[in-house]
Every structure is written in C-alpha cells, then in structure tokens.
C-alpha cells in the first residue's frame, strides 16, 4: 500500500523558533512536494524536489527552505517561524511520466500525507 508519512500531526511553536517538518515515502518516487493548505486559498506549492539534492521553489517559498538528502525523505524547514505560517502542511510524492513524440503526457498521481497542523504563537 502506498504510503506518505509525515512525522508530526500537530505542532505548536513560538514565534522565532526553528521548525522541522519531515516527510517519508516508501514508493521510490522521484518527485516530492510541500504544500500548505489554507481555507479559501486552496493548496499552494512551497517547494518541490525532483531528485535527491535537487529542489525548486514553488509559488510561496519565502520563509521556507527544504532538504532532500535521501530519495525517500523530504524535509521542510521554517528557519524562524512566524504567526502567518500557522497552517496545515501537506507533503506529497509522485513518479514522473515522460513525453515522447505525439504520445499523451500523463502526470504521475500525487500521493499525499495526512498533514501536519502547525500553530505558531
């Protein structure tokens, strides 16, 4: 059974603290993602990684960094937490699909973790 596991379901931190959110997948997926989920705003991509040690900024990377030292693990880091980073954080993974010639491009299905609800006081 496909599994994406986020280490912490609930965290409460104080402003200025450093926060680590960890995500592990057991599907040997190349791609891993971090989203934040906020009511009325949907899911917004923070960072993604398409290979070990490779990362790219998503739509809202400010205030965040990531680390991918091993294929199965993707960590989200808040160097100095702020109250506006209070949110639900979702990790996801997928396997890429390659295009060739006129063949349809099929994006890999995203598999999500259960989420980490972070509250910054």
């Amino acid at each position: 059974d496909v599994k994406v596991t986020q280490s912490s379901r609930y965290l409460v931190k104080r402003t200025g603290e450093k926060v680590f959110l960890e995500c592990v997948q057991d599907m040997d997926h190349e791609n891993m993602f971090w989203y934040r989920q906020d009511p009325g705003l949907g899911l917004r991509l923070i960072y993604f990684s398409y290979d070990v040690k490779m990362k790219e900024k998503g739509d809202i990377p400010e205030g965040y960094s990531v680390s991918r030292e091993k294929k199965e693990r993707f960590s989200l880091i808040l160097e100095s937490a702020s109250t506006n980073q209070t949110s639900m954080y979702l990790c996801a993974s997928s396997s890429p699909r390659f295009a060739s010639g006129r063949q349809p491009i099929v994006a890999g299905e995203l598999f999500f973790g259960e989420g980490s609800r972070l509250t910054v006081l």
Binding site: Q103, I105, A107, G108
Partner: protein
C-alpha cells in the same frame, strides 16, 4: 498568468439531487486536468483525471477547451460525497519534456450533501 478558479467555496445539495462543481482554468496549450478529493479525517487523494475519461464514484468531468472549463458532475449526490474538492491542472509540456506533476490547485469547494 496561469490560473485555476473554483468559483464556489461552499456548495450544498440534498441527497439524490444533481451536483456540479465548477472549475475554470487559464492555461495556454492543453493542460492535463485532475480532480482531487479530501473526505473528513482522510488524506487528499485523486478522484479522477480527464485523460482517463472514466467515471469514479458516479462522478464525471468533461474538459471543455472552448470554455476552458473542467466541471465535475454527478447526477445523484449521496451523503458520502460530502468532502472538499480541488481542481488541479498540470501545466502542458512540449514533447520530450518531463512532467514533474507540479499541479496548481484551485481554492477548493466544500460540498455538503444533506439527507
């Protein structure tokens, strides 16, 4: 800018009524489109993708390139359909590219089906 819009934050229907969740996108080319669903206390999961042209749990979604829409429909809603639904286009790629599956999600629609 590439954008996806789900105009309804909340949608309420009664059991047995038809339901349509709207999604409009503004992408050049031909994106691949998905609907993801999150049931209460469950993780977000794929519901269906337009390329499969399949019906999942009675839901279908037709890509209308002229209107740039990908509305999700079900003729007879059930209480267990109550959930948060997200529309998500995958950016179109030229042949030879690699799809990283970097989806842009809409704002989401909370569907409530009343008994």
């Amino acid at each position: 800018a590439q954008r996806v819009t789900q105009p309804e934050k909340l949608l309420s229907v009664f059991k047995g009524a038809p339901v349509e969740l709207k999604c409009n996108y503004s992408y050049s080319g031909s994106p691949e489109l998905f609907w993801y669903v999150q049931y209460s206390r469950q993780r977000l999961q794929l519901l269906l993708r337009h390329i499969s042209r399949e019906s999942i749990k009675g839901f279908t979604a037709d890509l209308n390139k002229g209107e740039t829409s990908f509305h999700l429909k079900k003729p007879f809603a059930q209480e267990e359909d109550s959930a948060m639904y997200y529309c998500a286009p995958n950016r179109p790629l030229n042949a030879g590219g690699t799809s990283y599956g970097k989806l842009t999600f809409g704002q989401g629609t909370i569907l409530t089906v009343h008994p």
